[in-house]
Amino acid sequence: MMKNIFLLLTFLSFNCVASDLTVYTLTLKNHRFSPDKITVKAGEKFKLAVVNLDNSFEEFESKKLAIEKFVNPKGKLNLVVGPLKPGSYDFFGEFHMKTAQGTLIAE
């Protein structure tokens, strides 16, 4: 029963996903984000692309944004985020915490 409801919700929601959103790109190189400060428009949904130029796996994580996802070596991650209220949102690469740190600012 739970599965059926779940499938139904999935089906219903496929049609109402918007896709013409502003894209912001973060690049990972030598386990550092570039840019490590990125500004997005508050109150608007947007796409966040994480491009990994390194040869190792990374886990892109942000507690405040409730994101936790793997990024493949030389891979790319596409996320839909927001809308966010004005403020700063920290993110990091869990596998290289010392260097892979950054902040997303919504204003």
Binding site: M2, T10, E59, F70, P73, N78, V80, E94, F95
Partner: protein, 272 residues
Amino acid sequence: MELNIFFIVYRESFEAILILSIVWSILTQAQVPAKMLKTILTTGAGIGLAISSLIAILIYQFQKLLPENFLDLFNNTLLFISIILITHMCIWMAKHAKNIKREMSQEIQKSLGMANYWGVISVIALSIAREGSETVIFLSGTLIEATREQVFQYSLVAIGALVLSLITLAVFLKGFKFFKPKIFFAVSSIFLFITAGSFLIKLTQNLINSELLSPLKENIWDSNHLIDETSRLGDFLSMTTGYHSSPHLMTLVIYLLYWAIAGSLYFRAQKS
């Protein structure tokens, strides 16, 4: 770096160990014979570790053949199956709690044939596979990048973290002993439902972020001023319950549906 390795290995195994220690205690309190208990635990752990290693081999050796979002798919699938299995186990427990109360261990053993144990074994295996695969991917990546001296050093740190996890497991097992079986089953069921619920929140959020699921309505409230998920309490709550300060409507609907369905199944099983 060393600290990060320690932290990740311990945190990942902690989550698996919480579930493992509860299942272990449930079986002990249900007076499952020691030999059977050993078989269940080793089979579950063995399958879990095998899946973790298999995933690591797959992604490091055959990454080009796999779809870009393979790990994401793997993660979401495991989350989904874990939710079903954990919920099923709680309901199964509710059904058998009466037998345990009567303390007729032989009768229980009969009612819990090996076939019934596969549910428990799967819960153990999946908990270990979920956390284990992440740890293995992280560790193998770190070791590949490390110099030879570092490999030795890093391995020691990882083993240290694992040992600490095992100590944590022993502490939990000791602690759980002080509960009366009936109370323990009730408390652990609630805890397991909360855990399955947190998996469901994670899964839903994951699908929304990947545009596979509509949020219906975004950020229906904001409790950030009460509990911030970057604070220590918030971090703990988000790990154990799936707490997020500004959830989407879809997440809330699915979460409430889960509790309604799991709750009614649980109470029905208790009555029967």
